[in-house]
């Protein structure tokens, strides 16, 4: 099952919903005698919905407002206007311990695992911190709980007392995912969560995210600038440009027949390997897979 089947059939009511989101920042003015501050509208009237078991991707270039939108939806930033609802209840203005229920439902995975994980803490301390913060008991004790989480994200549970620096980039991002899963969220906001990873590592982390979604029915709000990555994971896509959603729709439709000029520009700009080379490569790979052996020697093809 690829998850694409859920694209057109929403799995019930949205868990996380944001409507009319606006975020303005005060920025230094361009001069004038009083040096008045200007207002930058980073997010301008954005609506979004995330359901269980589905992925909504927000794509856009730098400055499009995609990360700000993610932070607003995750209640890491307060919106200038608009509302955020969780399981039907308005959570826009909740603060402090009133937010705990929301925080248990919505967690965030950030782009750079090394800067979002405390380098002085062990994996065990990192992944149990969200529960301690919410004053919740750790099911089965910290060690066993950590081992269980590490297994779920494909890390060796024997490494639970190691520090972030002792892991590779891809492994560190798995720790970030484990930490997000610790409180048992139903929606995970992935803010460029695979963008900094090498392509082979990225493929593995995407596979992990997909498996978790398949097995546990997580909803994802997936923020990315890479359209090819979005194509691999999203059910629905919203394209942001200057803080506005210029186009949104189900993935296959949007990729196959983009309606907005900006979406078309974005898609056309993505570098790609020539289709005829791809076809030839696939044909050879298929031949190798079916044909009995006769593997070509790995050659270096130097002259």
């Amino acid at each position: 099952m690829t998850g694409g089947t859920t694209a057109r059939e929403p799995a019930g009511e949205p868990l996380l919903r944001a409507s009319g989101l606006v975020k303005e920042f005060r920025v230094p003015g361009r001069g004038g005698p009083l040096r008045r501050r200007d207002v930058l509208r980073a997010v301008d009237d954005v609506d979004l919905e995330v359901r269980a078991g589905e992925t909504l991707a927000l794509v856009g270039e730098s400055g499009s407002g995609k990360s700000t939108t993610a932070r607003l939806a995750a209640r890491l930033l307060d919106p200038t206007a608009g509302t955020v609802t969780w399981e039907g209840a308005d959570v826009t203005r909740l603060t402090g311990s009133a937010l705990h229920h929301f925080r248990s439902g919505v967690q965030v995975v950030f782009q750079d695992p090394f800067s979002s994980l405390n380098p002085r803490h062990t994996v065990e301390r990192i992944v149990t911190a969200p529960l301690l913060y919410q004053r919740r008991p750790i099911p089965g004790g910290a060690r066993a709980f950590t081992r269980g989480l590490m297994e779920r994200v494909g890390l060796n549970p024997d490494h639970s007392t190691r520090h972030p620096a002792q892991f590779s980039g891809g492994q560190a991002q798995r720790i970030g995912i484990a930490r997000a899963l610790a409180v048992g969220p139903r929606v995970v906001v992935c803010d460029e969560a695979v963008s900094a990873l090498d392509v082979s590592v990225q493929a593995r982390v995407i596979n992990l995210l997909r498996r978790l979604q398949r097995e546990e029915g997580l909803g994802y709000l997936f923020i990315a600038h890479d359209l090819a990555v979005v194509r691999q994971i999203a059910d629905r896509v919203a394209v942001l440009h200057h803080g506005r959603v210029v186009e949104s729709g189900d993935r296959d439709t949007l990729f196959a027949a983009p309606r907005h000029e900006y979406t078309r520009t974005l898609l056309a700009a993505v570098p790609r390997i020539r289709p005829e080379w791809e076809a030839a490569r696939r044909a050879r790979a298929a031949e190798r897979a079916t044909g009995a052996g006769r593997e070509t020697e790995p050659t270096e093809d130097t002259r």
């Binding site: 090498d198 790609r272 390997i273 080379w277």
Partner: protein
């Protein structure tokens, strides 16, 4: 394969770069050899830690402290490894120019971009007057399609966007009309639409000037669009080298195959993405 009897533009033979680490020496590049014909283009691709950037720095004699280099590097038949720093500096920027990933950290924030392009020019054309250098700077900026170059030449780096700064870097690289351009992840920090513009620009200026290109990148799709030949590196070694067409249509090394399988694609059926060595993350 141009059956050239002349010297290749760039020839690298058995290049090894070694760092002394806390637990003994580490080879970050190991016995790497390749050649580039005049006007040719070569892409060096690899993941982080593959040694691709160290290769470009070694060619330019810009290795960080603590790194040692062995092997031979020649430019149009002239051995570079034997040159003094002073002689090498004359080659760098004049015959060989480079463009790096982050234009903001390669530009001095305290000087106008025009002053910096002019300085690069005068460093290699010592008899050039200030006026002439300024004219060259404006022309170079026009060549990379910076609108209103005569006015923009007096602006500071922070007044340019990331893509425009990278255009300035390319203008600076081209002002001495080098034979070889080494571009190390030149578009990695840029938005995809800006990346497309910069790649188009690189192709265009190469067609105009006939400069050779060594493009270092982690992005296989970028390399497939930009260079005639491709060299795949892994852990300091070349695992496969071929024409772009051969490499992308008939990859032979298992690592190259796995790497190509792992690239997410826009127009691909979504299946389980293969990773380079399954189980390695455990």
């Amino acid at each position: 394969m141009s059956g050239a009897t002349s010297e290749p533009l760039l020839r690298v033979e058995e290049l090894t770069v070694t760092f002394d680490g806390p637990r003994g020496d580490v080879d970050v590049v190991r016995e790497l050899s390749f050649a580039l014909e005049p006007g040719g283009s070569l892409g060096i691709v690899g993941e982080s830690g593959s040694g691709k950037s160290m290769t470009s720095l070694a060619v330019l004699g810009l290795l960080p402290a603590g790194a040692r280099r062995t092997g031979r590097i020649s430019l149009s038949g002239r051995e570079l490894t034997a040159l003094t720093e002073r002689q090498l500096r004359r080659v760098r920027g004049d015959r060989v120019a480079m463009v790096f990933q982050d234009p903001l950290s390669s530009l001095n924030p305290y000087y106008t971009v025009g002053a910096q392009i002019a300085e690069a020019y005068r460093a290699h054309r010592q008899r050039a007057t200030r006026r002439e250098a300024r004219r060259v700077a404006v022309e170079a900026m026009e060549r990379v399609h910076i609108d209103d170059a005569a006015r923009r030449v007096d602006h500071y780096p922070h007044q340019f966007s990331g893509g425009m700064r990278q255009r300035v870097m390319i203008a600076m690289a081209l002002c001495t009309e080098p034979d070889l351009l080494i571009a190390d992840e030149p578009t990695t920090a840029l938005d995809v639409t800006v990346q497309a513009q910069i790649l188009r620009l690189l192709t265009e200026v190469r067609a105009e000037t006939g400069a050779g290109l060594v493009l270092i990148t982690h992005d296989l799709a970028v390399v497939s669009e930009m260079t005639d030949e491709v060299l795949v590196m892994r852990q300091g070694e070349c695992v496969e080298r071929a024409t772009a067409e051969r490499l992308f249509s008939d990859p032979r090394h298992p690592y190259t195959r796995a790497l190509l399988d792992a690239v997410p694609r826009l127009d691909d059926e979504v299946g389980e993405l293969r990773s380079v060595d399954e189980g390695g993350a455990r």
